[in-house]
Amino acid sequence: MSWLGKKGQGDFLSGDMPALIMIVVSVGFFLSSIYLAQNEFQSKKGTIDMEAALVEAASTFLKENAKIRADDVTSSTSEFWSEKLEKITRTYGVNVYVELMSLDPNAPVCTSPKECTNGDEPADNINTLSKRFPIALKGDTDLDVYPALIKVYVYRS
């Protein structure tokens, strides 16, 4: 270490200290990357679960197309809500909020936003995924079926 003129620097760099510092830095860097990676895995896993819940909801509405009445969504005691959508909640560990809206002004119900909803609306600061699905909304009789959209929000509280 002759190129280092000041007293003490040569001794410092010629001992074990630099290697020890590098070992500590390397281990620290690696451990912090493990921590970051673990956070990333957890975050992505949560997103995957929410995406899966949305696709499951799409399948549910596909099967129930033209069978859903406004009451099925607005009533918390309806068979549809308790059996179909709560199953999604249980399976994927997510909260589900649903908005049903008719696209036909002639429909007797659900013609304005938030008129036909079920579940707790997610707060603005919560990470939420949402998708909208076309659906046929049943009116008073089997001959009154209107184009409608179901908007499903999936979030974790």
């Binding site: 590098m22 990357s33 995406e51």
Partner: protein
Amino acid sequence: MMARMGLNKKGQAEIMDGLILMLIAATCSVVLLSISSDYGSLPIKIYEETYSQKLAQNTLLSLYHITDQTEGSEYYRKSIMVAVSQELSRGTTDFSLSGDPAGKLIGDVLKKYSDELGREFLFALTNEAAMLDQTVISTDPQVTDAATFRERVGNPYCASAALTYPNSGSCVTGGEAGSMCYTIFEICTWLT
């Protein structure tokens, strides 16, 4: 380790060992972070594709159920696909004509879905897997037939189903099965 490789000055070998360790740690960290950032991208892509597929299927199924609510209309309180079936039995296949009642019903519903969902939709009858140009109804004004569909639409998601209609002498499209004719119709959706 470096001492054995010829670095005999005191401290140099340890520094080299430390540098190698840092290099290994940095490489492992980069690999780990790269794997974690890619994690889930494939399933999410598959879920997005499944969603688009379900969207097309839901739209197709809705056309079977949604009824014409226009009072005084020929198809009042009848399903849209019933209207298509009856038009076909009369020998009409040109649903893209603005005056065709079945075509107008389909166009109205698809436009409503398109406006709300921000996606384009297309309806067409197919014959041997090829779209019949005169039956194409699209929410994208640039897509008017099979050729413009192929040219302009990059990655559509489509769902198809069979439709039967009464055989009134000859089947205008599709096949014949006794007193009934059958054809295939298709709904496609894509992002603009």
